[in-house]
Structure formats: structure tokens, C-alpha cells
């Protein structure tokens, strides 16, 4: 084939140019450590890299959320630990009061005062805040102080029932905050099914136990009345329901179980004729009103037999409700523990996923240095060879010999 002189030079220059382009690309890869800089160099890998980068970022966000939840849960757990402590102390007080055989008004007031102090510190813990000033137990109203004194020792909840969930993994979210109504409220009154009370107008020393309910307890309001028309006659009892139907009756024996409609109560002491006791379905009350109720029982009790009996009933109820409250707080703490456990597991999963995604990302976009270094070496060699050969053959011209 004929080769024109111009073509001869042009091809040589083209070749040098090509070698240089390749060399510059390799050099750029080595400088950046990336296999590609723009998507066009490897569109498939670029798409994958974008996806993987997004996955890594999302996972890191999940983990940041998990850490935030953990911090909150630990703060809640600390506050609830204190609450448990207070409840234990209050219970001890009640046990002491229950055991004290005789009580004068001063002693009772002293007990009541100590209970009030416990109540105050309980409100303090319930109003605990995090480092950012958010209330821990206000539900979503976390800018509002959740528990405040509404007068007469009544503690009112100002928060709501909200609970903030945030995602800590794909499709997994964890509760970050708690509603004070859930944590400090929702404790069943009395024995959990019904509440027993002595009527304030009672004159005898009869005290009713907190009782217990069997499975077939028919919920409703009942009235237990002691009937003893004449002191000579043995006392009897009658139980009426809300519609005044007699549901049970029998001879009164102190401490003997009285059963009706699936409930079992006992009255001890010597009730007077016409003394009544109320049995009503248990509602829910909060920790504060449990303490307040016990304190009230202590302050309101009188020295007369009926008063002592009422104190007895009040303390019985207080103890039972405090036990329920302790159970309740314990189950709240167990929930926190479960949540922390969930966070630990999710943290492991997040970390594992992040690792996998990061490795895949590196695989997709990071340069294989050994291979690139070799490519650089080969490229340099090729360029040098092209340059040398060009220099040596460009000199060949017949005109040189015509001189």
C-alpha cells in the first residue's frame, strides 16, 4: 500500500495521542482512587454506586435514630428506677402503719406527711427532662410540664397519649418517648377487679378486706349491709346489687368469707346494725392518687372504732394498690428493657448491613490499585516505544541522501 508522507506523520501523532489519553485516564484513576469519575465511564457501576451510597446513608440514619432512642430509654429507665425506689419506701411506711397497734393523731399525721414527701419526689421524677429540656413522660406534649398539682394534693396530667416512634431499621421502628398517662397511670384500683369501702356513716368497728374476685365475677356495684335488729340476736349480712336485688345473705362471722356473684370479701371486727360496705368495680388510678389515697386514709381516720376500721380498710387498699403500682412500673421497665434489647439487635443488624453495603460500594467504585499501577506501567512503556520509534523513522527521507 502506498503511504503518503502526511499520512505517515499523522498516524504516528494519532498513535501518540491515543497512548497519552489512556495514560492520563489511568493516572486520574490512581489520583482519585475511583474507577470512574462520571457515569459515562461505567454507567452500570455508577447507578449501583448511587444506590449503595443511598443505602449506606439510610442505614447510618437508622443507626443515629437507634442511638437517640437508646439514650431516651436509658433516661426513662433511670427515672423509673427512682420511682420504684420511692414506691418501695412508701410501701414500707404503709406496712409500718398497718402494723402499729395503736396510733394517735400525731403519729398518723407524721406518717401521712412522709407519704406526701414521697408523693412530691414521685411528681419530680415524673416530670424528668432530657438534656434538650424535653419532658420524658409528657407524650407528644413534651414542651409542657406533664404533672402538676391542681390543688388539694391532686396531681393532674397535662400531657397526651402520644408516643413518638422513629425508624431504627428498614420497616422497624422503636418507641422513643412515653406517655405519662401510660407510665404513671392505668393502675387498677382495689384488688384489681373491685374496690371495697366502708361507709363513712358506719358506727361499728367492722373493717372490710380488699377481697378477691373469681373468674365469674359479675361486675357491678354492690352494697353489703350488716343486719342486727337487736343486740341479742346474732348479726347477719345482706348483699344487694345496684338495683336493690338481694344477691347474698347469711350469718355474720368476723373474718369469715362472704361470697356473692364471684366475689369474696371478709369483714372483721364488730360492725353495728345498719353499717354498710360498698363493693364497686375497679377503675384505674395513677401512682399519685394511690399515695394520696393512703395519706388521706391516715389523716382522716378518727379515734372512734369506726374511724380505726376505716383506716384499716384504707391501709389494706393502699397496700394492695401499691403492690399493683410496683408491678405496673416493673412492667414498664421490662418494656424499656425489651426496647433496649431490640435496639441492640437492630444495631448489630444495621452495622452488619452497613458493612456489607460499604464493601459492595468499594467493590463497585474503588480502584484496583495493583491492576491500575500495572496498566500505568504498560501505558508508559507503550508511549515511550511509540515516541522512540517515531523519532527514529521520521528521519528517513530520500532527500537527505540527495545532498
Amino acid at each position: 500500500m502506498r503511504i503518503s508522507t502526511q499520512q505517515f506523520h499523522q498516524r504516528a501523532v494519532d498513535m501518540l495521542h491515543e497512548q497519552q489519553t489512556r495514560l492520563v485516564q489511568t493516572q486520574r484513576q490512581l489520583a482519585t482512587g475511583r474507577r470512574f469519575e462520571v457515569a459515562a465511564e461505567d454507567p452500570l457501576a455508577a447507578g449501583q454506586a448511587l444506590r449503595l451510597t443511598r443505602e449506606v446513608a439510610t442505614t447510618e440514619q437508622y443507626q443515629a435514630n437507634a442511638n437517640a432512642v437508646r439514650l431516651r430509654q436509658e433516661l426513662q429507665e433511670a427515672a423509673l428506677g427512682q420511682v420504684t425506689e420511692v414506691l418501695h419506701q412508701a410501701r414500707e411506711l404503709l406496712v409500718q402503719a398497718h402494723g402499729a397497734a395503736s396510733f394517735n393523731a400525731n403519729e398518723r399525721h407524721a406518717f401521712a406527711q412522709r407519704l406526701e414527701q414521697h408523693l412530691t419526689s414521685l411528681v419530680g421524677f415524673a416530670n424528668a427532662r432530657d438534656g434538650g429540656g424535653e419532658y420524658l413522660f409528657a407524650g407528644d406534649q413534651s414542651g409542657t410540664r406533664p404533672f402538676s398539682d391542681a390543688g388539694q394534693g391532686q396531681v393532674v396530667y397535662q400531657g397526651d397519649l402520644g408516643q413518638r416512634h422513629i425508624p431504627i431499621g428498614p420497616g422497624v421502628s422503636a418507641a422513643m418517648t412515653a406517655s405519662g398517662a401510660e407510665v404513671f397511670g392505668g393502675v387498677r384500683e382495689g384488688n384489681g377487679r373491685f374496690v371495697t369501702a366502708a361507709d363513712p356513716s358506719n358506727t361499728g368497728s367492722g373493717a372490710i378486706s380488699i377481697g378477691q374476685a373469681r373468674g365469674d365475677w359479675t361486675s357491678g356495684a354492690y352494697r353489703l349491709t350488716i343486719v342486727q335488729p337487736a343486740p341479742a340476736r346474732p348479726p347477719t349480712y345482706e348483699v344487694h346489687d345496684a338495683d336493690d336485688n338481694l344477691v347474698a345473705a347469711g350469718d355474720y362471722v368476723s373474718g369469715a368469707p362472704i361470697r356473692f356473684q364471684g366475689a369474696e370479701v371478709a369483714v372483721t371486727g364488730s360492725p353495728a346494725h345498719g353499717d354498710t360496705f360498698q363493693i364497686t368495680p375497679a377503675g384505674q388510678r395513677d401512682l399519685f392518687s394511690i399515695l394520696r389515697g393512703a395519706a388521706q386514709a391516715l389523716t382522716e381516720a378518727g379515734e372512734v372504732p369506726a374511724g380505726r376500721a376505716r383506716l384499716q380498710v384504707g391501709l389494706n387498699r393502699g397496700l394492695a394498690e401499691l403492690d399493683a403500682a410496683l408491678d405496673h412500673v416493673l412492667s414498664q421497665r421490662a418494656q424499656i428493657g425489651a426496647r433496649l434489647d431490640q435496639i441492640d439487635r437492630q444495631t448489630d443488624a444495621n452495622e452488619a448491613f452497613r458493612l456489607v453495603a460499604t464493601e459492595a460500594l468499594s467493590e463497585v467504585q474503588d480502584l484496583n490499585y495493583a491492576e491500575a499501577a500495572m496498566r500505568l506501567q504498560t501505558g508508559m512503556l507503550a508511549l515511550e516505544a511509540a515516541q522512540r520509534s517515531y523519532v527514529s523513522i521520521q528521519d528517513l527521507s530520500l532527500f537527505r541522501f540527495l545532498r
Binding site: 448511587l50 446513608a57 406534649q141 422513629i166 540527495l402
Partner: protein, 650 residues
């Protein structure tokens, strides 16, 4: 008459000189682009019959011809046009690819930053810092959208500028071809081919091919007519019909090329132009660039629409319902920007286009034509040239495409048409509308309030809202359970009852319409006791509530908002990056291959027509020797003459 030895020698001398001149010409033009080497063709002069037979009388140079092959020359022009088209297209595409995929300019990092900020605000909705960060990340997003929009506009302006300079160059070159045509026609009168003029003309046509594909047609008189595409004349004889740049009469957002005839008549020829840099620029402008612009607009619409819709379902810490976070997708300015009237419209209509369903938009533009009362309106989708809707009146909702066309003012005349671009202007117009951190509605607007003293075990779940009127819920709605009738009495507005029987409805969603506010939905689980109460109220102080922030994050990050529900925002963008990257890579490969084809065509042409200096050097020696030999013949003839004279003198 005898043979004249001197004449014979002289003919050889002349022939050698012509040869030497031609060889020198070849050497001088060794580096001239498009030059074809020339050769002298010699024949023996007419012999004379004398004595023993015919005696030769020397030589004659009959012609000087160029080593030329029309096919090879044409081949080079064609390959050059194809290569220039691919190279230009690739260069532009690579620039777009870098813009989209470089993390300093791409959407991905700012979108991720925005999503992270939403998550952070969801984790700490009461934190002023987290809210402020969210606002700032929103600004980063809108800044990036307008940066990309500006870059795309600059790219478009650059493309139009390039088209203009290529058209200028084409006009200059074709004028030059027309001038050469005149020269060639005149030179042909002399009977021999004007080799250098022809070479120059061929080279001009090759240069033209760099700018646009042209078809040459040789005429009987040696002139060359040039056409663009299928028969749009550019040069006819010594006349030119220059190209002009304007706005396309088909698509008012694109550049159009026009052929300007005598008397200034303009005919659009954009569709005919193929090959050359011009072909590449037009391909890019109407293909990748327009696509990227439309998709960027679509992402802006998707983001703004989803974010605004979700944000409006929330409540800010001050107790106001959320407003728009970003510029409303149907702001008056955007609605007007979506319809461009054709320049030659006769009517005075102004159109507005309202987006109804961002998710239905498919990234195409449309043409709306009006054929008068009988024909009515016709909407043609530009991407596949399909008629998607015909209708008689405006306003008209085109549900299949996701928008409504309305007449803002005036009326269309028969024959008028509008170009409808649903995504136009959206990226550039995207701004943050939410004024400050306290206007961020991260909470749900309704909450369940605790009620003391409930006997039953029933619990109320989170309240979700829909179809909000825009007024916040005032007062509280109390649900009181009526066990006998297994339903809740709803007191205060709206009144009425809500059936709930624990055995069958526990965990099911209960719906409650509140006139003047909207629809509420919540779950109820467990059995309430008679007279148990639940209270729903406005969430004015719910600073710790993150429900709307979570919904916002889910909506923006996980919901497939785009292309008929097939891609989330980030997926849509990733798809665009991968698509543009893939196209750019493909164009790069094709351009590289085409460059090789150009080289082969060059090699083939050079092999025939190119000057090889060694060869010329050898010719130089050969002709020099021939010249010397012929001179010697004359000297010998002189010697003979002297010998004869001497003998006579004798």
C-alpha cells in the same frame, strides 16, 4: 523533410521540465489538505516516414491529471460527517453526564441531606436546632435545583450558539463552493481539468461535512450542486441558499434551521439535517438535553407536590395546620409557563395548564391543536406522536396524562396550536415557602387526650387525618361508649354515633368525618366499659409529636411518586444518571469506532492521492536525468552540425 534532432531533444527537455514542475508542485503541496498528487502524461510525438520507416520526432506532454477516485473522496466525506455528528453529540453528552453525576452538582447528596434532616427532625421534633437544620437542607435542595436548571439553560444557550457558528461556517463554505463552481466552469472551457480547483472544492465539501451532512451532485459542466438531507438545495451552480437559525415552528422550545430562498422565503429544514456537528447538536438538544430538562422539572414537581401535600396534613408547634413547604406546583406563573403558543397563531388565546397528578406525568411534551368547531381540540403526545385526547371545549382534564388545560384568556382560532410542557419552569421556580422553624408542621393535627376513670380496657390508637379543609380542629370531640347499643356517642361537633363492637371491630379503623375540619381515622382495640370516654382534640402543643415528619420522610424517600408509581425521587434521579451515562458511553464508543472509519477512508484516499516525498524525490532524480539526457541530445545534434560544417570547410 528530415528529422530535426534539436526539435526532438527540445521536446524531451520540455516534457522533463513539465514533469519537474509537476513534481515540485507535488512536493510543495505535500502538506496541503485535500491535495491530490498530479502526474504528467506523455505520448510519443507523431513520427515521420523517412527512408527505412517511421522515425520518431520526440515526445509530447498531453495532460496533467490528478490521482483521484470519486468514490474514495465521497466515502471520506460521508465518514467525516458521521464522525463529526457523533463526536459533537458525545462531547455535549459528556458535559451533561458530568453535571448530573458529579457529586458537587448532582441532586443525590442534597436530597439525602434533606431526607436525613427530616429524620433528625422526626427524632427530635421539639428541637429548634433540628428544625432549623431542616429549613437549611430545604434551601440546599432548592439551590441545587436552580443551579442545575441554570447549568442546563447555559448548556442550551451554548448549543444554540454552536449551532449558529456552524451555520455561519456552512454558509461561508457553501459560498466558496459556489465561487469555485464558477471558476471550474470557466476553466473547463480550456478543455482540461482544473485539478487544483477541483481538489479545493472537494476539500471544501469535506469541511462542510464536518458541519453538516451534504450530498454533492456533479453536473455536466463540472459544477457541483450541494444538498442537505433529501433535496434541500444549499448550492446550485454558482447560487447559494444560505441556512438561517430560528425557533422551530414545530416545537417553540427548540432551535430550528431554515433554508432561505430567493426573496427571503424561509422553509424549516431542521428534520432534514443529518450528520456533521450540526446533526449532533440538534440530536443532543432535542434528545438528552430536553430529556434532562423535563426530568429535572418532573423531580422538582414530584418533590414539591409530595412534600406540600404531606406537610398540609400536619400541625406546627403553634397549633396551625401546615402550609406549603415548597413553591406550589400550580402557582399561576408555572401554569402559564407550561403552554407556549405557536408564533403564527391567529387567535389571542392564553392557556394555563394545571397539574392534577404528578405521578401520572410521563416526561413527555404535548401539542394541542385546534381545528375549529368541527375538528375540536386534539392533544398529541410528542414522545410517540400519539393522539392522546380529543375534545370540544376548554377547560379539559386529561386524566390519562395527569393535567388540565384551561383557557386563561382569549380564544384559539382554527389552525392554532400550543406546545404543552408540563414540567417547564418547575426546577428553576422551586423555592422554600415555609418561612421559619415554627411553621414546620411535624406533628399530626389531632391527638387523643387521656381521660381518667375509664373502667374498660379499650385503647385508642393514633389518629390520622385526610381531606383537611385547612382549618384546625377547635374544641374537643368526646366519644362516650354506649355498651347497650355497641356504639360511641360522638358529642360536640359533629354529633352522631360510631358503631364499635369489641368482638368484631377491635383493631379495625374507625372513620369520623368532622365538618369544617376533615376526616379522622383511628383504631380502637379492646373492650370499653359503658360510659368510658375518649377525647380527640387539636394537637396545638404537640411539640414532641413526629407523626407528620415520619409520614413526610416515608413519602419522599419510599413512595414511588414518579412515572406512574414506578420510581421514588432518588430512584428517578439515579435512573436519569444511569441513562445519560449509558447513552454517553454508547456515543463515546460509536464516536471512537467512527473515527477509525474516518481514518480508514483517509488512508484509502491518501494511498491513492497522497504525496509520498520519497517517491517525488525519485521522480525528481529521474526527470533531472531525462532533462540532462535531452540536453545532451541537443549538444550531440550541435556536434553533428559542427562536424558537417567542418567537413564542408574541409
Amino acid at each position: 523533410m528530415g528529422v530535426n534532432l534539436i526539435q526532438t531533444g527540445l521536446s524531451g527537455l520540455n516534457a522533463a521540465r513539465s514533469g519537474l514542475a509537476t513534481t515540485s508542485h507535488n512536493i510543495a503541496n505535500a502538506a496541503t489538505p485535500g491535495y491530490s498528487r498530479q502526474r504528467v502524461f506523455q505520448t510519443a510525438a507523431t513520427p515521420i516516414h523517412a527512408g527505412p520507416g517511421f522515425v520518431g520526432t520526440g515526445t509530447r506532454a498531453v495532460d496533467i491529471q490528478r490521482s483521484y477516485d470519486q468514490f474514495l473522496t465521497r466515502e471520506l466525506q460521508l465518514e467525516t460527517a458521521a464522525a463529526a455528528q457523533l463526536r459533537t453529540h458525545h462531547t455535549q453528552a459528556a458535559r451533561l453526564d458530568a453535571l448530573l453525576s458529579n457529586s458537587a452538582t448532582s441532586l443525590t447528596p442534597v436530597l439525602q441531606g434533606f431526607f436525613d434532616a427530616v429524620h433528625q427532625a422526626a427524632a427530635e421534633p421539639a428541637s429548634g436546632a433540628a428544625r432549623q437544620l431542616l429549613l437549611e437542607q430545604m434551601d440546599r435542595v432548592t439551590e441545587r435545583f436552580s443551579l442545575m436548571d441554570q447549568r442546563l439553560q447555559q448548556t442550551r444557550a451554548g448549543v444554540v450558539g454552536d449551532i449558529r457558528s456552524h451555520v455561519d461556517r456552512i454558509n461561508t463554505l457553501s459560498a466558496e463552493v459556489a465561487r469555485l463552481n464558477r471558476g471550474v466552469a470557466e476553466a473547463r472551457g480550456s478543455g482540461s481539468a482544473p485539478n487544483d480547483l477541483l481538489d479545493r472544492r472537494d476539500e471544501l465539501v469535506r469541511q462542510l461535512a464536518e458541519h453538516a451532512g451534504v450530498t454533492p451532485l456533479i453536473q455536466g459542466d463540472g459544477t457541483l450542486n450541494l444538498f442537505i438531507g433529501n433535496g434541500v438545495p444549499l448550492v446550485v451552480g454558482s447560487e447559494t441558499m444560505p441556512l438561517a437559525v430560528g425557533v422551530s415552528s414545530r416545537d417553540p422550545s427548540a432551535t430550528g434551521l431554515f433554508s432561505v430562498g430567493h426573496g427571503g422565503t424561509r422553509v424549516e429544514v431542521t428534520g432534514q439535517v443529518q450528520g456533521g456537528a450540526l446533526g449532533g447538536l440538534i440530536d443532543f438538544e432535542r434528545g438528552l438535553l430536553a430529556d434532562a430538562e423535563r426530568q429535572l422539572g418532573l423531580f422538582a414537581l414530584g418533590l414539591a407536590d409530595a412534600a406540600n401535600a404531606q406537610h398540609r396534613l400536619g400541625m406546627d408547634p403553634v397549633g396551625r395546620l401546615g402550609g406549603d413547604l415548597f413553591t406550589n406546583v400550580n402557582s399561576p406563573a408555572l401554569q402559564v409557563a407550561r403552554a407556549i403558543g405557536q408564533a403564527d397563531n391567529q387567535g389571542n388565546a392564553w392557556l394555563e395548564v394545571r397539574i392534577d397528578q404528578v405521578g401520572t406525568l410521563n416526561g413527555s411534551d404535548y401539542r394541542l391543536t385546534y381545528d375549529g368547531d368541527e375538528g375540536g381540540y386534539r392533544l398529541i403526545r410528542a414522545r410517540d406522536n400519539q393522539i392522546v385526547d380529543t375534545f370540544a371545549d376548554l377547560p379539559h382534564s386529561v386524566a390519562s396524562e395527569g393535567f388540565t388545560i384551561r383557557l386563561a384568556a382569549g380564544a384559539m382560532d382554527a389552525g392554532d396550536s400550543f406546545w404543552i410542557r408540563p414540567a417547564a419552569g418547575a426546577a428553576g421556580a422551586l423555592r422554600r415557602v415555609a418561612a421559619d422553624a415554627s411553621s414546620l408542621a411535624l406533628a399530626a393535627p389531632v391527638r387523643a387526650d387521656p381521660v381518667g376513670g375509664n373502667i374498660g380496657e379499650a385503647r385508642i390508637g393514633p389518629v390520622t387525618v385526610s381531606a383537611l379543609s385547612g382549618t384546625a380542629l377547635t374544641g374537643a370531640i368526646t366519644l362516650t361508649y354506649d355498651a347497650a347499643n355497641a356504639r360511641f356517642a360522638v358529642t360536640d361537633p359533629p354529633g352522631g354515633t360510631l358503631a364499635y363492637s369489641p368482638d368484631s371491630d377491635s383493631g379495625a379503623t374507625l372513620n369520623l368525618a368532622v365538618p369544617g375540619f376533615g376526616e379522622l381515622a383511628f383504631t380502637m382495640t379492646g373492650a370499653p366499659a359503658d360510659a368510658d370516654r375518649f377525647v380527640l382534640a387539636g394537637n396545638a402543643q404537640g411539640v414532641g409529636d413526629n407523626r407528620n415528619a415520619l409520614a413526610l420522610a416515608a413519602q419522599l424517600q419510599e413512595t414511588p411518586l414518579l412515572f406512574g408509581g414506578s420510581a421514588t425521587l432518588t430512584e428517578g434521579y439515579e435512573r436519569l444518571v444511569t441513562e445519560v451515562g449509558g447513552r454517553t458511553q454508547g456515543l463515546g464508543f460509536a464516536a471512537e469506532t467512527q473515527e477509525k472509519l474516518v481514518r480508514w477512508a483517509q488512508d484509502a484516499r491518501e494511498a491513492l492521492s497522497g504525496v509520498n516525498l520519497d517517491e517525488e524525490a525519485a521522480d525528481l532524480l529521474r526527470l533531472q536525468q531525462a532533462y540532462e539526457a535531452s540536453a545532451r541530445v541537443i549538444a550531440v545534434s550541435n556536434d553533428l552540425f559542427q562536424t558537417l560544417l567542418g567537413a564542408l570547410r574541409g
